[in-house]
Symmetry: C2
Subunit: 480 residues, 2 copies
Amino acid sequence: MAKEKKLVESITPRDEDFAQWYTDVVREAELCDYSSVKGCLNYLPNGYAIWELIQADLDKRFKETGVENVYLPTLIPESLLEKEADHIEGFAPEVAWVTHGGMERLQERLCIRPTSETLFCDLWAKTVQSYRDLPKVWNQWNTVLRWEKTTRPFLRSREFLWQEGHTIHATYEEAEERTIQMLHVYEDCYKETLAIPFVSGRKAEHEKFAGAQDTYTIEALMHDGKALQSATSHFFGSGFPDAFGIKYVDKNNQLQSVYETSCGWSTRSIGALIMVHGDDSGLVLPPHVAPVECRIIPIAQHKEGVLDRSFALLDELKKAGYRVKIDDSDKSTGWKFSEQEMLGIPTRIEIGPKDIEKNQVVVVRRDNREKIVVSLDEIAVKLRDILEQEQQDMYDRANEFLQSHIDTATTMDEMVEKFKANRGFVKACWCGDPECEGEVKYATGGAATRCLIEDEEMISDKCIWCGKPAKHMAYWGKSY
Amino acid sequence: MAKEKKLVESITPRDEDFAQWYTDVVREAELCDYSSVKGCLNYLPNGYAIWELIQADLDKRFKETGVENVYLPTLIPESLLEKEADHIEGFAPEVAWVTHGGMERLQERLCIRPTSETLFCDLWAKTVQSYRDLPKVWNQWNTVLRWEKTTRPFLRSREFLWQEGHTIHATYEEAEERTIQMLHVYEDCYKETLAIPFVSGRKAEHEKFAGAQDTYTIEALMHDGKALQSATSHFFGSGFPDAFGIKYVDKNNQLQSVYETSCGWSTRSIGALIMVHGDDSGLVLPPHVAPVECRIIPIAQHKEGVLDRSFALLDELKKAGYRVKIDDSDKSTGWKFSEQEMLGIPTRIEIGPKDIEKNQVVVVRRDNREKIVVSLDEIAVKLRDILEQEQQDMYDRANEFLQSHIDTATTMDEMVEKFKANRGFVKACWCGDPECEGEVKYATGGAATRCLIEDEEMISDKCIWCGKPAKHMAYWGKSY
């Protein structure tokens, strides 16, 4: 009983202290924890299994667009990192340096990659010669390291898991198209697989990736009203590859520049899952990324026939392709329910002597706790429908939250008022000057442009801060 | 034509210079190449795709035995690496050290993991308390770094891709059983998926993994008669976890030690695939790990209807679940055949105007160049049979080679003679003294014990070198 009490009380209520709630859920659901290396995480089975499902889904989407996977080294020579000026300026302050190999001091320092544009360009400079060698549409699943000062599980850690896509193309247009295509792949995965809605678009000039010409971003809204930059796609033009001397001979025997893109999606997405869908009982996982879609919990399992029938059901559901487990431990039923909820398992099946008598089970959805009585004859089919409905409902609910947290402002008074309530995104117009953005940020207690809105009519022709002609309309928000 | 000539002539004949042949195949099949960081590889699409198939196969086998995947950090604090004496002695000379993070000098050096036993034990020391927390049967897919002096693609490089399994158990017996179980998983994967036969068994005392009580190995035989240590499974007893202070409270409330295992399989396995199955025309991939199982090559593709019918076939085979591609480039047919062979694609389908007239295609197997005429009505079914037959034949052929390259020796004269011909494995008995092994190694030009033979009657009761009572019979061989 002592432990049962602990499970219920171990989570701070979400609306009382969101940051503490987040930390509690990560800990109690055993998703990850800090290792002995400051700022680096141990990704535990419950957390890593979510990542594996995200990976599988995203990798499939990539390959449908022609992406090939590769693996390039963990280490980058200092001279290589320095080849593109903006890039080194952006990353030098936050890399880890290897200075000794075995017993010897190295002649040149090597950094652990913070991102791999330089390695890809170095490889292509040596291997790309002709138009026949283009395009290269590559990706790698790996970890990168950035020497962050403050860290939070999944959201910001020194080492994190991600994929980084890197491509080069013969023309500007093709590369630009690929940049947008990868943004769309990310959007589809966020929406269909993670059940997370978002706003998306181009980043303001000063918010671009180090060395990029354009950066596109997906900005999801967390339950506390803060935005999370959730995945990014970058267009480099030919500047970056030119710095590495990548050239190709076209069909007319002319030497040409190539055009580059890169894109990245990290384990941050697990943080988004927690903060968009979680509740006071713990994690709530969308079925598509739930390592266990259903946990069978036998009721009064000591009674004759209950465990037998439960295990028969387990087999049946496994054969039907479900990710399903059974909890036949000696814990109390109440504890089992709490644990299934804490882990965010999308459904539990309660099966007891009376259910068996009536040839039925009770399916309980995690997201809304709806109880659905299903005939044992139909469960292997109906469970899929229930899970799909839950997936859809979770998206709809999150989207309703997002849409009801997008406001507009044409004056600073409005802007400040909206952000006082920590209300999510606010659409407002802006002259494009980072100094004006800085003033707005100060006045609102942290709200900055998250991305530009380029497909809607501007709601004002003046910058919300300085009153000069507005160049952009943008989503503004506080962020992680 | 210039390029066509190059393709044919670009590979050194295998029996003329095996090492050069290997390098040529790796290069021409574009599997990997060296990066700007000395001794570190770029794994290119053709090579990495093989690794992805191996990973998927092995991961499925792991999970069937209850393995859970995790991810622990890349970096290990020096003090942690030093906790187990044998382990640090084995690895200290070959690790890379991080001394600076961002702009700061670190207070303690961090090494890039050469293997992760210390990280797993550190985590478990903090989290394992009760018998309820056991066993832990974990695995991670990652890269490790060892500062090797001489390197060869896939066989030995400073950074390499692998999986490392780590488990702890409540009893000695359970851990020992897991050690053997993982060896068996490896054996099954080598045999069924890579079509590679092997000998396997326990390593001699002085050949064990640093810190292990027992190491089990799979030793495959390459075409040049040298053995390749292909995967290993280690039993640590309780010594290693004791050094980290991992203890649990058993059902009787007594504090107990845990028993540990680890196991590893790396991209070396790609080297084995090349050296066991490859031939003078390039790579020969077993269908189960071939990224492309079949390449369709239209004959006289400019003639009406050929490309249409070829693409219809491509669609049909894709829908039937084959990994299939088409080569409709403007290269000559001879070049296309050479390229398909170089890449080791297990089958090509030749389809020309006459074939279409007769409603048939010609399937050509890569391994033995057998041509099989198949009706277009049946190809989607028959191709699977052809591929499965090829997979089986490749194993049988490699096994015949292995079995015909296992000899026995009871005298040093015999031993020396067998190894003069570079003939593979020789069974011989041994007192267990590393010095005797050293003498044999010198006399034979490099043959040492590869693994002990513990389930057969000993062919002699004397050590082949010193004549003292034999303690072991072993497979001896030269090795990579």
